[in-house]
Subunit: 250 residues, 2 copies
DNA sequence: CATTTTTCAATCATAAACAATCAAAAATAA
DNA sequence: TTATTTTTGATTGTTTATGATTGAAAAATG
């Protein structure tokens, strides 16, 4: 296996799992431990990952102080766990909506081998979906070139012709009074509609999103179930009057 | 095997695999290691690939250039000219439909700097469209994982809500009696509908498509204008009774 | 805390891949 | 045809990547 191929594989595995052991990589690439160690050193130098004892973990591109480094690492792992939990909720035969966003993207590997149908507004999810052989519908609409998501009135019209068993969304702000919020009004409209199209709407959010508000309101707290993890008990206490909140324990 | 042929082959293999070993190329071209090494050096100098120990890997290129190389046919230049002619037909303010396919993809660089709106069913065109900052709508529908095009009843429904100044389509077969044909029935349905949504539908086809028929009928010859080049005079004579045919001269 | 186990970086021999060179073969020109 | 240039494949010594081995360092265990 050639070096760039190996590197790509390593990054790919990390993208799906957030943390990986050297042994796993040795197997995945059928090369020796020494080689993997060298690869990891190099990729670390290129800031593509962070070495940890026994393997490697994702790193966020932000090159700030060390504590922040660790924090963003933990977030990614957090997202990973949330994504896995959410993925496990999906049952054979379900028709689900998958919103654009990094957490929902991480759900895809966990949707494998169930005969489900996915509807999405995220062009960036298509590759992973097709890799895992999942039947996929894209809603129509204006292509937002920055985020590669579909928005606009035509997206709304198109989306409203579907109904879902379950809906999974990312969210930027979750607040007791402001409810669910997100920066972009157009994306907010799409998210809000998606929530209303299913009896089971799930918001995937790590702890950093709580008590934050963003520009555009998507929905009231009561309209969707929150999936999160590593959150203070008093925060849960505050929210559980307003909506169902599920905490994923590691 | 001739040098340009070898080079094309190398790029083609790379397009499919991203990374390739020298040994694989030696086999694929039945030439010696030395020759392949020389080829790789040269192609690297031309920025077409990047050499790595043991072989070569893709460099990041603009999407339309990439797919130009993927198709290793000598018709590539022909398609290029047709695409340019078609691109020049588009006027400021136009709203056009761009079908999936290699020739229509090549139109995109020629659409620059006019304030147009593009509607397409081709996910593979999005990157190039966004690179050239063209306002783009995607129709909704089922994602066909092989061709990355949108098809199905939902695509049809979605597409039928638009009207276009001009429509540009690729086509597999053009035949005096069978009309316009293409292998996939689902894609044929989308193409056929697109043609009916504009007063100006253009079929982009190099000379190899003439007097060929494929499985699914898209439309009658009279429904669209054919753009082609390098075609025998007697073929033109046959067709010009049935429809308008424009020959792009180099 | 001491001990055991695992993981690590450094070193080294080996095998693979490399650039450079050269002669034969093929293509082109005279 | 012959002469000249270009392309090719084999050979050379050199460089690079790899995997095994080692003792040191770090976690895990008791």
């Amino acid at each position: 296996m050639l070096t760039p191929e190996r590197h790509r594989k390593i990054i790919e595995v990390l993208g799906e799992k957030s943390v990986v052991t050297i042994q796993e990589l040795v197997e995945a690439t059928s090369s020796s431990e020494s080689t993997i160690r060298r690869d990891l050193s190099q990729l670390q130098k290129e800031k593509k990952l962070k070495r940890v004892h026994g393997g490697a973990s994702l790193t966020h591109q932000k090159s700030e102080e060390l504590s922040v480094f660790e924090k963003s690492d933990r977030n990614s792992l957090e997202k990973q766990r949330i994504a896995q939990y959410a993925g496990d909720l999906v049952e054979t035969g379900d028709c689900i909506y998958l919103d654009a966003g990094t957490t929902t993207l991480k759900m895809i590997p966990h949707l494998k081998d169930r005969e489900i149908t996915v509807v999405t507004n995220a062009i960036s999810h298509l590759e992973a979906l097709s890799e895992h052989e999942i039947k996929t519908y894209l809603i129509g609409g204006l292509v937002k070139s920055k985020t590669k998501a579909l928005v606009g009135s035509s997206a709304i019209k198109n989306l409203s012709s579907y109904r879902f068993d379950k809906v999974f969304l990312g969210m930027n702000g979750i607040h007791i009074e402001a409810g669910f919020t997100t920066p972009d009004p157009e994306e907010a409209a799409v998210k809000g509609l998606a929530i209303s199209l299913s009896q089971n709407a799930f918001i995937l959010a790590d702890h950093t999103k709580f008590n934050e508000t963003s520009f555009s309101k998507v929905a009231d707290l009561s309209e969707a179930i929150i999936i999160t993890n590593e959150i203070d008990d008093d925060v849960i206490y505050d929210f559980q009057d307003k909506t169902e909140i599920r905490v994923v324990t590691p």
